[in-house]
Symmetry: C2
Amino acid sequence: MDKVALGNVQNCPVTATMQVIGGKWKILILYLIFNDINRFGKMGMMLKDISKQMLTSQLRELENDGIIERRIYPEIPPRVEYFLTAKGRSLEPVISQMRDWGNEHLFNIQSDVATGR
Amino acid sequence: MDKVALGNVQNCPVTATMQVIGGKWKILILYLIFNDINRFGKMGMMLKDISKQMLTSQLRELENDGIIERRIYPEIPPRVEYFLTAKGRSLEPVISQMRDWGNEHLFNIQSDVATGR
DNA sequence: AATAATAGTATGATTTTAAAGACTAGATCA
DNA sequence: TGATCTAGTCTTTAAAATCATACTATTATT
């Protein structure tokens, strides 16, 4: 099968966005941070079935992509907190659209366009 | 580490949406179908580095999720074409948001809100 | 002196994903 | 007669993702 690139990963902005937020746990992690659950241990407790190293790697990727910020406090035992960056907060309309579509087409919950709920 | 479910995959509409469009090639496949490239062979040629069985599995998942429709023509050699369903077309605003965010934050291309370009 | 606390890392094993290549049907073309 | 076409499937095989478990540092507490 001869291959010809036309729509490919490198020049598709949607696919590029997917790479940033599409990780197995990233949406849920962003949800937790959005709800002020921003410590490693707490996140691990909230996310059923995630392993420490998986949590670490997802957090690192979000950090490397500039979506979240990692703040280390010089304390013992160590304290680290994660926060959304401006870029991370800019994902809000993207995630809202996905939420609305999911509610409407997967959970059959209609959203009120006026309120966004 | 004790686990407590709070935000989990089953009740998160965003994660649910991700499961539908988040497959490795799904966005690109939808893009092709949107651009009237709707035969298996053509898609395979356009998507560099995709294998036949990967293409098949992605198409099957999209079909099972009601996003695309598979139409078989009783011809020899066989002809099969894929089309977006109404549900598939309803993804348009979701994908547009992702495209805009990607262009703005990953490719540094500003989008004109008025025209959507 | 041992234990607990946090936010991880290191190691090795296992599971999952994905690829390559061979194979199929049935009509048509050379 | 044998090759060609399409849209796949099937069977290995290799690679990537993920897990469980043990381990680290340093201070405070018991």
